[in-house]
């Protein structure tokens, strides 16, 4: 039996739309022989935690120690139970277990047959060795999956929502079987679930996760003796405690969004004020506009203000003295707030520079392409193109940029679909860099 010590575990994924923080400073311990549940909503990074503990996924920062040794240095001996039984249909129950035993080296192991027999007895499937998976029921297949996790004699048992796909009756039966199996042959267990009742029934301690970016909302101890009864007063008490944590977390979460919205609204106001000033004759403050654009572009995904993109575009447009004619052009067509545009045009009227038209033309072509995009209605394909667009901008490849958005003859858009404009913002950030270089 092994112990686990997770400390400050953080995991950030690099996705096409930028870095995505899944786990944020997770810390908890699991003592030897303890049954710990990770409870949380879907997508909260519970499987990611499990994979970090087994060493399958490297942590971005923080440490994971099993028996005091970092999982980086030495992968722990663990058994894994999936949501599906994942048995090889062309092999018997016995052969499936034998596969697990021989998997690492490919060679026969000592006491194979005895170990297989013992583990089948543990899950009450003695006598089913020669059966093929299609000849046994779904519940029995699940038990073979659990047997397979045990057969490797692991210090850790990792279970990723093993009963999540089953109906409540079968799940209850399997939970009881798992509990009695575990009582017969105790191991350290980390069990993932999104079902509060399941967690209360099985766990010694419940680690409650928040939604992304996940941190631990709370760890609740379940001090009830086993076997536990569904619907008993003590169980109800624990369930209510857990529910209370959930509700509290959700409230906090909503509050975060509200706060960020307020922050964003403040930024919008600042931009408008600045536009007023510029209209009245002062020089645009490029640093301020830079910081506004940065803020809007790098805003966290989950908070999206409806007017965000319009303001972003306005800030960018203001950033460049050369967009005057362009704004004039698109004024009639685009959905930017007309009032805002009027102000911009007034301001920019005072900023005709003597720079060559060529820069401006290619620039306007590119921005025109963005403007025509109706980015609020981008399809998945269009979103995929955005990073390409950003690359074109960075390389100063205006031709290819317009090609990207024109899609080689056929316009890509005109298909109304939901999509967020994170990638557009990234691309516009690249555009901003170019504008900066051009204006400097």
């Amino acid at each position: 039996m092994s112990s686990i010590a997770v400390n400050g575990l953080t995991k950030i994924f690099n996705t096409a739309s930028g870095p995505l923080k899944i786990l944020d400073d997770i810390s908890f311990d699991v003592a030897e022989g303890e049954f710990v549940c990770l409870l949380g909503p879907s997508g909260a990074g519970k499987s990611v935690t499990l994979n970090c503990i087994t060493g399958m996924l490297p942590a971005t920062s923080g440490s994971v120690l099993v028996d005091g040794i970092s999982v980086f240095e030495k992968k722990p001996n663990y058994g894994y139970v999936f949501q599906q039984p994942r048995l090889m249909p062309w092999r018997t129950v016995e052969e499936n277990l034998r596969f697990a035993l021989r998997a690492e080296t490919g060679k026969p192991q000592a006491d194979e047959d005895k170990r297989i027999q013992d583990v089948l007895e543990l899950v009450n499937l003695s006598g089913y060795e020669k059966f093929y998976p299609h000849q046994i029921s779904g519940g029995m297949q699940h038990r073979v999956g659990i047997a397979r996790a045990y057969v490797l004699n692991p210090g850790l048992l990792m279970m990723d929502e093993p009963f999540g796909a089953l109906d409540e009756m079968t799940a209850r039966r399997l939970r009881s079987e798992l509990a009695s199996t575990w009582l017969k042959d105790r191991r350290t267990v980390v069990f993932i679930t999104h079902d509060i009742i399941e967690a209360c029934f099985l766990a010694d301690r419940i680690v409650i996760y928040t939604p992304k970016p996940t941190h631990i909302a709370e760890i609740i101890e379940v001090k009830l003796p086993r076997p536990r009864e569904y619907g008993s007063a003590e169980m109800h008490q624990v369930e209510s405690d857990v529910l209370a944590v959930f509700e509290r977390t959700l409230k906090d979460f909503m509050q975060i969004i509200k706060d960020e919205h307020r922050a964003m609204a403040a930024v919008f106001n600042e931009l408008l004020q600045h536009v007023d000033q510029v209209t009245n004759g002062s020089t645009p403050d490029f640093d301020l506009l830079d910081s506004i654009v940065s803020y809007l572009v790098e805003f966290p995904e989950k908070v999206h203000h409806p007017k965000e993109d319009e303001y972003l575009f306005a800030a960018l447009a203001m950033r460049s003295p050369q967009t005057h004619d362009l704004i004039e052009e698109v004024k009639g067509e685009h959905r930017l707030g007309h009032e805002l545009l009027d102000r911009l045009i007034e301001a920019l009227r005072t900023f005709r520079t003597s720079r060559g038209r060529s820069d401006f033309e290619s620039f306007s072509k590119a921005v025109r392409a963005f403007v025509d995009l109706q980015w609020r209605h981008m399809t998945q394909e269009e979103q995929v193109l955005m990073p390409m667009a950003a690359q074109c901008l960075k390389r100063d490849d205006w031709e290819q940029l317009t090609d990207v958005f024109r899609g080689n003859e056929d316009p890509l858009f005109g298909i109304k679909a939901k999509g967020d404009s994170t990638n557009l913002r990234k691309a516009l950030l690249g555009l901003r860099t170019d504008i900066k270089e051009n204006a400097a």
Binding site: W90, A103, E104
Partner: protein, 267 residues
Amino acid sequence: MNQDQLQPSTWEGAMNWLSNHRNYFIGASSFALIVVVWQMIAMTQPSYVFPSLVQVFADIIRFGEEGDLLKATLATAKSVALGAGASLLVGTLVGFALGKYEAFTSPILNFVQTVPYVVWALMSMIWFGLSQFAVVFTIFIAGFTVISFNVAAGLKQVDAHLLGMAQSVRANHYMIFRHIVLPSLAPYLLSAARTTLGICWKIVVLAELFAGGGGGGGVGYNLYVSWEFNRPNEVFAWTVWLVILMMLTEWMVIMPIESYATRWKKN
């Protein structure tokens, strides 16, 4: 003895047997249809345009008595066995290459596949002369692309869940290959083998035609000779024999292999 009690059970038994062996009857009736249609056409045509089945089988028996049948069958069967075997082996290896290095392997395979079989037969003859090797080479080239494409398709379909399970038990490459990849490939290989064998039997006629007597004097060669000597009834006879050989191969080679490969599916 009570007649009423006896009759129903015998009748029921007969009906049961019939319904259990339904497929044999359906197959037999399909053959019967072919025979009927054949004879109908043969009756309305002169025998050099469309001989009757009686004549066809008489010719086949005659070939047998003259010794041509056995000699030709052995030669062709040997060519097909060698060609198909090589196809299977090389095709599987190339299939794995296609799965892993698609950008490189795909154009080569497409090229090989697009070149018409006739051209391969001719080239074979030029390169390897009028020999049985030329025949084997032609059918090998004709067949291995099918196997490659099928193997590559099969590789894409290996169950990702099982691969994840293998990772969770820290399986090494050999174990994954032997216990997960290969069994997953079995149905694809089987289907490809079936198609390839069909192609081999068809192309062997073409190849033997070009290779002439040097190709071993197989069924295809004899068929061509019959044509040259203006004996269309013999052409029909050799063709029917070829079809019989093809069906025999399916029955005696492919079906047992299929039975073995899918033995885990039975109850």
